[in-house]
Amino acid sequence: MSADAAATALRRTQLDVAWRDAGGVWGFLTTVDHKRIAARYIVTTMFLLFLAGMLAMDMRLQLSAPGLNRMGPQLYNESFALHGSTMLFLVSVPVMEAMALWLVPLMLGQRNMAFPRLAAFSYWLYLGGVLMLWLPHALGITPDLGWFEYPPLSGPAYSPGHRADIWAQMITFTEVAALAASVNVAITILKLRPPGMTLAKMPLFLWAMLVASLMTIFALPAVMLATSMLIADRLVATHFFSTAGGGDALLFQHLYWFFGHPEVYIIFIPAVGFVSAIVETFSRRPISGYSAMVLSVLAIGVLAFGLWVHHMFAVGLPRLGNDFYTAASMTIALPAGIQIFCWIATIWSGKPRMATPLLWVIGFIVTFVIGGLSGIMTASAPLDLQLTDTYFIVAHFHYVLVGGAIFPLLGAFCYWYPKATGRLMSERIGVIAFALIVGGFNIGFFPMHILGLMGMPRRVYTYPADMGWGALNMLATIGSAIAVIGGLVFVANALWSFWRGAPAGADPWGGPTLEWACPSPPPAYNFDLTPAVHSITPLWEGERIAYTGIAADRRELLVTSVGEAKPIYRQNSVGPSIWPLVSALCTTALFVGSIFTPWALVWGALPVAVALTCWFWPTRERARTGPLRSRR
């Protein structure tokens, strides 16, 4: 054995010891491995996606013919409230954060996130939010006012009991979790890039995740404020939203949509990252129009905060404002159109090769563009007065969110699945799942545009036969059922491939970015050596540059500068800890208690303070290894 090989073997052993989790349940509870936490996040969101899909099927069956009585109004209202809240707060946003948690360090050639324990805390708190919504549901205390619970309907006068409190506090949970994850992702991308990966050489996926994380940080406080004010109205009789007490019901809507509209782009922009990565790899060329893509993502990130009022055109605001928000909303079509152009142009000018991930991108473009165009229609204030709160809107936002985010997400699953599991998914079954999901979705949701134009409002549990909405509703139900079957085929493929799929190797697709340089599945320490890069597609350029001087025998990360990614210093990366879980439990007790008594905020803060003190108790030592340098 040569000296080099011996050194490599020793380094790997050291790394393995330094980054390994404890075994068993204790390891499960204390791990700060970003891959394990992200996998947990993803499995939880997929399970909830299944539950929300079943709720949707239940509602579709109820609506498949006029005047059905298989669901009463209460059950139906609970179902759509639970479906919407679950999909928006517990599936779409967290799953995108989970993809970032899993991929960002790998794409940066790093061993972990910037704040490993914060990632663990984020998941545990998110899980608290899931239980906050679904445990009461199991007990029959389900929120029943939709995914945006407008006061005064959700106020103390019209919603006695705790249904609305549960919804509002579920939001607090998920938003704290989302803020924690977003801060983590943003800082990781800004400070842990490999040397040489300047901002201008950052893969689009990282740009997308950076922008989505920053948007989350700016948008989410608004909704936490709104729901906290709602809880205050309900718990301690403040009058933020009660007209009789001098409050304003519309204040809630403004705050809610100031979050609610960016929320849509917080879900969509990560999908832009997935699509860019997939298109690049399968077109066998770097993305066409990189700067245009980066600028368009940034433009969407900024514009998204200036058009929340288009959710409120019918509330009777001054018309001058309507015109402004119409123009602002339509402007989004420009960056989105440029992105679509760049992807198609990349396929056009490359040497494209078909595989399921690229198939999903095609399904995404065909479907999402319809959603974008119907979005332009609803952006027009006068036309929106006819369209808002009808099935046209239901069709529109499902085209945007399912077509625009879930399809790319499924493509991303197919694309990175071999990296995560070491095995390839079956292409043949993948195509069947794709055809069923995309076909079923379009059969199911396109008719809803027409239903909306035929006057069918949203959120009705039944409708009279003589309105003539029966046939298209039946079609919508059939299409949705086909899509659900497709979803089951997709999951079956993933499970089957997990045990029986063909071994993938480190780089089955010939990808350009760093995550394909580490083994599949990646070891706990991700990379044997910390890489540095010169170009945006380092693996295609044949770059193999490593940074030495970073400890192998303990957890250490290389921190670089924000703009030019120059190495600055080594940072100790914290190890496994139980305190994130304990802190999350204490926070959970505080949140749950504050539904019942304001004193929970006071007494509940004490255990949180103790847990956080233990979490941050200083244990760090100084770095002892030699100077930083690069080697080939």
């Binding site: 309507n322 679509i340 065909v366 036309l383 006057g455 010939g510």
Partner: protein, 333 residues
């Protein structure tokens, strides 16, 4: 225009749509301008969609089979960059046309306010509509419920108030919707021009029975409207027979009177719909059932079965009394 009418007819036939609650069959000035904007949008967006699909199809047709080729690292971008500018130009022109059209339609919706308008007050309740007109004879308010009459060719300013939570007033054939928000004085101007029956429905989720909060809309000739309003302003009709007399006793001296008013009798409750001329209406319980004696009886006996969650309590009556009450209400023309 003729072609689009034809396409519309085909669409309705295909879907057996009733055409009484749809923005696609405008019966008012506001709905007509919104419809024309929709047609413009459809053309522009359809054109763009076809462009995108065509471009995508051409790109995908270049997909190769077999093993992955070596990456193209120096792919020429210049031609593509030029076409990116062209594409951005197409988008900008399309958006300008649509934003301009949208602006003009918004102006036209606002323009109605300048004219002399009929004053109508609509108050939304969970889950029905209180409707009041100014009586031209006395200047007082005349109340009815769940049935809006409008004269053709005249702008009506409908002042919208809420008794409880947020609702949304929507008669798609006549105009777009306007939210009804407690604490806010919203109003919507509508100028119907086609005679006939239409249907409106609450469009903002307002609780358990949001689905069953509809109302009928009748566009009358001005003469018909004046006659109808004069009839509505009169107190309740005289008793037709002895059964009706028994029914009147049940309604005006029993539990019904706690919530309902029948002008000219002892019944003066305010919580529920005005029943003074309930017999003239087309439907009962906010568009739930056609108006007839049997449905009235069913509604009185089992409101929670027909509209679970409704504020109307179950009133236990002897069968003969229930029949008499239904008969009495039916005769309140």
């Amino acid at each position: 225009m003729i072609r689009s009418r034809f396409a519309l007819a085909c669409l309705f036939a295909l879907a057996s749509c009733s055409g009484i609650q749809t923005p696609l069959a405008p019966a008012g000035e506001q709905a007509a301008s919104q419809y024309s904007l929709f047609v413009l949008m459809l053309w522009v967006c359809g054109f763009v969609y076809v462009l995108v699909l065509g471009f995508l199809a051409l790109a995908v047709s270049r997909v190769m089979r077999g093993a992955a080729a070596d990456p193209v690292l120096d792919a020429p971008d210049r031609g593509l960059h030029r076409s990116l500018w062209v594409w951005a130009g197409i988008i900008l022109i399309g958006l300008s046309v649509l934003a301009g059209g949208s602006f003009l339609v918004d102006r036209s919706l606002a323009a109605a306010q300048a004219r002399e308008a009929l004053e109508v007050r609509v108050t939304a309740h969970q889950w029905w509509w209180r409707i009041a007109y100014r009586d031209p004879a006395t200047g007082g308010w005349v109340e009815t419920a769940n049935e809006l009459h409008l004269p053709a060719g005249r702008t009506a300013r409908i002042a919208l108030g809420s008794a409880d939570v947020i609702h949304s007033f929507w008669v798609p054939n006549v105009a777009g919707k306007m939210d009804v928000i407690p604490g806010r004085a919203n109003a919507i101007d509508v100028t119907p021009h086609r005679l006939g029956w239409f249907r409106g429905q609450c469009a903002e989720f307002c609780g358990t029975q949001h689905a069953k909060m509809a109302f009928d809309v009748k566009v009358d000739t001005p003469a018909e409207f004046a006659a109808w309003l004069a009839a509505q302003a009169r107190p309740a009709a005289a008793l037709a027979d002895t059964v009706a007399a028994r029914g009147m006793q049940v309604v005006t001296q029993g539990q019904c009177a706690a919530c309902h008013v029948v002008r000219g009798t002892a019944a003066a409750g305010r919580a529920g719909p005005d029943l003074t001329h309930v017999g003239t209406r087309r439907s009962i319980a906010a568009g739930l059932l056609p108006m007839n004696r049997g449905n009235l009886q069913g509604w009185i006996a089992q409101p929670q079965a027909l509209k679970p969650g409704t504020m109307m309590p179950t009133v236990t009556l002897e069968p003969a009394d229930a029949d008499a009450a239904a008969h009495y209400l039916e005769t309140l023309k």
